[in-house]
């Protein structure tokens, strides 16, 4: 019997089953409107393993980005010291506060490079002495105004944690080039070869316009800044990732799964095109693109399928559209795959967030990556995770890694009728949405006319409406909220290393730090270089990165440089799409 006959037989039997078994049962249990699904070969009639899945790490990369799961192996009998997840997103108050925090973390074995959270004035290109940012200095991240601040933060990273031995991540987008230039200047001062610098600036400005909001300049000059970094990194910082881009922020902003995937792919295409336009070979820079995060929801199988679909889609774009030859160019390089997301956490009965993050972590393993129980359960309770919450999240991840055996196998759902068909569906819907964006003229044009912003705001409103109508259930929020339910809490026994007093003093201290820099630097040289920056910024083909490095060396401030660029590029104003 050939495949066609087999499918016909299955179809016949399925109809029989639906009529004789499924419907009566569904009726009996009162779920005939939405009976439980069951999937068969009929859902993937043309399934072709080599074409649709392939081997882990190989085109079309559906199974996994790498041939092995990136879970550290524990040697038999060995004591697993040092196996903490380093580089947790952190940064507090003044550079001194953050340095001290990282020193303490090193004692607790969080020994990797920093994953720097920067305050909003820094992310938006303002200095700490600007009165319009009062109240925001040192909040949600550390304040960085000049090279001096990097010098202080990185006092926590010397010796076996020196800049040539760690990877530094920075959540910085609009002024990414200026902060990377400060890092380069710091490395030069320490006599460290630029070729050895590792790390990832987020450097994903397009999603800032779509959802996250820390933009400065309009989209087109912002892309010129991106191009400058792409070219400079490729030539001078070969071990640094060019960006850590992705769709998680877009999803958190309200996008559906398909919108997130389509918009992220559109953004990726726009970024890749900058390298091509600059005359570089795709395989010379695409392997240095990295992904900060994708997805995030409680819909377990859909999130798994989403990651399989996103890997296949990115691989196709690289190979078919950009003609990439190396498989390194085609892979989604990311520390983790599926997770439960941030906006799925609830303030109500917050310990439930641990359960949610574990479900996300299981989806992570099943979607071809390491497990990541994230975020810690107290994410919606305030600003900064408690050490207890971090410990619980980390232990949950370790339990999945080392007690369950789940990480011994990659993409165990490959070939599943359900998951393969879901993967196809999500990918197809994303291609369709991507075509729409391309019809508008690509990401930049679709941001300029507000299409992407409006789309995700609409999706967010639809989700909220489903929550209000209890079509979407959130336990402890819109359902199961009766008086007899218990609100289980933990006691906070370990003080957070960043104290309230430090929080209150940070603004004053950082203003004093900046005043001291401005008093002692060579102001004439700073002014001269700022003039040079203005002239160069006006010429589109000039790469501003070397100038930013010169300015960093002379302790020019972030805002001084951004103000010059604001003058040349303008500022992005368009915002409200309600």
């Amino acid at each position: 019997m050939d495949n066609k006959d087999k499918l016909a037989e299955i179809k016949e039997k399925k109809e029989e089953w639906e009529e004789k078994a499924l419907l009566p049962a569904a009726k009996r249990f009162g779920i005939e409107k939405r009976p439980t699904e069951f999937h068969t070969p009929l859902d993937i009639p043309d399934f072709d393993f080599l074409r649709d899945v392939g081997f882990p790490g190989q085109y079309p990369l559906t199974a996994a980005s790498y041939p092995v799961n990136l879970v550290p192996r524990l040697e038999k009998g060995a004591k697993p010291g040092g196996l903490r997840r380093a580089g947790t997103y952190s940064g507090y108050g003044t550079p001194e506060d953050t340095r001290d925090y990282y020193r303490l973390m090193a004692k607790l074995m969080y020994t990797g490079g920093p994953n720097l959270a920067l305050d909003l004035p820094t992310q938006c290109g303002y200095d700490s002495d600007n009165e319009i940012v009062e109240g925001e200095i040192g909040k949600v991240g550390v304040a960085v105004d000049t090279l001096r601040d990097f010098e202080v933060i990185f006092e926590a990273f010397t010796g076996n944690l020196d800049l040539d031995k760690i990877a530094t991540n920075m959540t910085i987008n609009a002024p990414a080039n200026i902060l990377v230039a400060m890092y380069v200047a710091l490395a030069e001062k320490r006599g460290i070869s630029l070729a050895k610098l590792k790390g990832t600036p987020q450097n994903d400005i397009l999603k800032e316009f779509i959802s996250r909001g820390t933009y400065i300049f309009p989209p087109r000059p912002s892309m010129r800044m991106f191009r400058d970094s792409l070219v400079f990194f490729t030539e001078s910082l070969p071990a640094m990732n060019i960006n850590g881009f992705g769709g998680a922020h877009i999803r958190e902003g309200g996008a559906t799964r398909e919108q997130e995937l389509a918009f992220t792919m559109a953004n990726g295409i726009a970024y890749l095109q900058e390298g091509i336009n600059a005359g570089l070979n795709i395989d010379a820079f695409a392997p240095r693109f990295s992904f900060v995060g994708f997805g995030g929801s409680m819909e377990f199988f859909k999130e798994i399928a989403f990651h399989r679909a996103s890997r296949r889609m990115w691989a196709k774009i690289l190979k078919e559209r950009f003609g990439a030859k190396k498989s390194e160019s085609m892979r989604i390089r990311s520390q983790y795959t599926a997770y439960s997301g941030i906006s799925t956490t609830t303030k109500q009965r917050a310990l439930n967030n641990l359960t949610r993050s574990v479900i996300g972590a299981v989806a992570g393993v099943l979607s071809g990556g390491p497990p990541l129980a994230f975020p810690p359960y107290d994410e919606p309770l305030g600003l900064g995770w408690s050490l207890e919450a971090r410990q619980l999240a980390e232990d949950a991840t370790r339990i999945l890694m080392y007690e369950t055996g789940m990480c011994d196998v990659l993409d165990p759902l490959a070939g599943s009728y359900y998951v393969e068909s879901l993967t196809n569906e999500i990918e197809e819907a994303a291609w369709k949405e991507l075509e729409k964006v391309e019809g508008i003229g690509g990401s930049v044009a679709a941001i300029e006319n507000g299409y992407m912003q409006r789309s995700i705001a609409k999706s967010a409103a639809e989700r909220q409406s489903r929550i209000e109508k209890r079509e979407d259930i959130i336990v402890g929020v819109n359902c199961f909220t009766e008086e007899y339910e218990l609100d289980v809490t933990t006691s906070k026994m370990v003080e957070h290393p960043y104290s309230e007093e430090k929080r209150y003093d940070a603004e004053k201290k950082q203003k004093a730090n900046l005043a001291e820099v401005k008093r002692t630097r060579n102001n004439r040289e700073v002014t001269r270089l700022l003039g040079e920056l203005e002239r160069a910024a006006k010429k589109d083909d000039e790469n501003l990165m070397p100038l930013f490095v010169n300015l960093a060396r002379e302790y020019a401030t972030l805002q001084e440089q951004c103000d010059v660029l604001r003058g040349v590029f303008g500022e992005w104003q368009m915002d409200s799409f309600v």
Binding site: R212, P380, D575, V578
Partner: protein, 135 residues
Amino acid sequence: MEKERKIKVLIAKPGLDGHDRGAKVLSFGLRDQGMEVIYTGRRQSAEQIVNSALQEDVDVVGLSILSGAHLTFFPKVVNLLRENDAGDMLVIGGGIIPDEHIPILKEKGVTEIFGPGTLIKDIGDFIRKNVRKIA
């Protein structure tokens, strides 16, 4: 008989915080409940917000911050409204506000704080119950 005027709400994002999903969703939701809603967009100073509130003569000012700058911005908006004889506008807030900050904000004139997970239905009910008498 004169038709009752709609309740007019200004939803605002003070400061640099870019997380505007809540602000937008709330704007849509209150509009669906029949209120007139103006959303300021991001990156508003307290002065800009108060100017918009006065100019539009709104009944309610809703402030959304997820970045920890609420202790600076919320009282500033309340004070500026009071200085401009608009102390009767209802000021409410939302975002990631630690529980221990809520009494501080209320004492400074923010009428209510709505955290994550609040249903818009409940915010609408609160507004209708507490809004100033509409002439």
